[in-house]
């Protein structure tokens, strides 16, 4: 009984109060020929890691990728309505098509509107795309805050990954270099973010096509001395 604008058809108002099944961070980085996006495939139910095979990155139309952290059911709702938007866009059949910039702004309007109604879609969205050779990478949060940049991260990624991206990003990264940087960030998140899992999906979008690769795992090393004696730096009673 709900539509994307958060107003139910009947009298009683239902609002999102807190998220239930959540996805963790999403990372994305522009490289020379396109954009790479990475997200793990986990869905947490509070502190339980309930689902381990959730695809949090999807292709939208011909030109864009959408990755989401936060409430998975809200992400599914967004996908359903974006799908309808794309279908209507294709139905025009006139050579014009919705590019990443339009989608980013559309999502920003929707998220902000829902926030104003106190019924947010509990997601942090990453929108990546290329149209006519121009790369576009943007974020929309559940408050309606939106921005674009050469590299982005949501959730914990904002604190742990962005400093690394800031230091290492260059204008003309090759795809291998971009992958290495992303994996470095993902590994740090795996060590430090308790809602992340060691099963990642990378998605790539270039002018030619969008690809979402199969999930894979990173090699981890737990032999750090800090992990061996975790209480070493926690001496004392306060």
């Amino acid at each position: 009984m709900q539509n994307l604008m958060g107003s139910p058809m009947e009298m009683e108002l239902e609002r999102t109060l807190y998220p239930y099944v959540t996805g963790s961070s999403v990372l994305a980085i522009k490289y020379k020929y396109g954009i790479l996006m990475a997200a793990d495939t986990g869905g947490s139910y509070g502190s339980t890691l309930r689902f381990k095979d959730i695809q949090r990155i999807k292709t939208i139309g011909k030109h864009s990728l959408l990755g989401a952290g936060g409430e998975i059911s809200d992400f599914q709702e967004i996908l359903k309505y974006l799908d309808e938007l794309i279908v209507y866009d294709n139905m025009w059949d006139d050579g014009n098509s919705l590019g990443p910039k339009e989608l980013h702004n559309y999502l920003a309007r929707v998220m902000y509107d829902r926030r104003n109604k106190f019924n947010p879609l509990w997601n942090s969205l990453v929108l990546a795309g290329i149209k006519n050779g121009e790369k576009y990478l943007g974020v929309v949060t559940m408050l309606g805050v939106h921005y674009k940049d050469n590299y982005v991260a949501t959730g914990f990624g904002n604190y742990l990954a962005v400093p690394i991206l800031r230091k290492e990003w260059r204008d003309d990264l090759s795809i291998e270099e971009a992958m290495k940087i992303l994996e470095k960030c993902m590994r740090i998140l795996l060590y430090r973010d308790r809602s992340s899992i060691n099963k990642y999906q990378i998605a790539e979008i270039t002018d030619i096509e969008a690809t979402i690769f199969s999930p894979y795992s990173l090699k981890t090393f737990w032999g750090f001395s800090a992990f061996k004696e975790p209480a070493k730096s926690a001496e004392g009673s306060w």
Binding site: W92, D94, G95, N96, L98, G99, K101, E102, H104, N105, Y106, R109, N132
Partner: protein, 236 residues
């Protein structure tokens, strides 16, 4: 459709980079100002109307609304083709409801978008077509004849050249009256050039330049066709 034919002339021409609209300003008396026939719809779209000006204003307001709503949601200009279809669908409704009357105005919609330069003509019937060049309103046939001979080379024209040709076509519709910048309104939109009405002074300069060089050329071209068709244009 009849209302369109009775309104004063409006013409449009298009190249791959620019679109020009030009209209003849009719005044009801010497004392009054002329009716506004060219409307800016958005930075990238403008229209020229012929027919019931009031209907034209209402439709312009509708078009401006559609454009600004699209810009707000998608932060990108509305593609001209899509605006034109919405306009046509709106006009069609009035042809299928017994309690409504059709909009008595023809619109020449000029615009730039991702796919290039466009010139459309929207009828009161709800039909629309895309054109390289077109003329509507009274005595538009004279302009159409002129454009028919010249349109094939328009694709490569620059903005200036299009304006010159538009002024020539306007001259055709005047049929002997003197062409001055007060009598016509010219507007242009193009790559890197938002829709705007060209300054009166500049138009007068171009007209003066035309009188000197162009007349001779135009006369030669028209010599063959006009004698057979019997349509009069310039009586020198």
């Amino acid at each position: 459709m009849e209302a369109v034919k009775q309104g004063s002339a409006a013409i449009g021409l298009r190249s791959t980079s620019h679109v020009v609209l030009a209209t003849v300003n009719k005044t009801s008396s010497e004392l009054s100002s002329h009716q506004k026939k060219v409307f800016k719809i958005d930075d990238h779209i403008g229209v020229a109307i012929a027919g019931l000006t009031a209907d034209g204003r209402v439709l312009s307001r509708y078009m401006r609304n559609e454009c600004i709503n699209h810009s707000f949601v998608y932060e990108n200009p509305l593609p001209v083709g899509r605006l034109v279809v919405r306009l046509a669908d709106k006009a069609q409704v009035c042809t299928q409801r017994s309690w409504k009357r059709p909009y008595g105005v023809g619109l020449l919609v000029s615009g730039m978008d991702e796919l290039g330069a466009h010139l459309y003509y929207n009828c009161p019937s709800g039909n629309y077509f895309e054109y390289q060049a077109f003329a509507i309103g009274s005595r538009s046939q004279a302009a159409k004849t002129y454009l028919e001979r010249r349109f094939e080379s328009y694709d490569k024209y620059s903005g200036e050249e299009l304006i010159k040709d538009a002024l020539f076509a306007i001259k055709e519709t005047l049929q002997g009256e003197v062409l001055t910048s007060k009598v016509c309104t010219v507007a242009i939109v193009g790559v890197g050039e938002p829709f705007h009405i060209v300054d009166q002074k500049k138009i007068q300069e171009m007209i003066d330049a035309m009188e000197v060089t162009g007349e001779a050329v135009a006369e030669d071209e028209q010599g063959d066709d006009y004698s057979t068709r019997g349509a009069t244009s310039m009586e020198s």
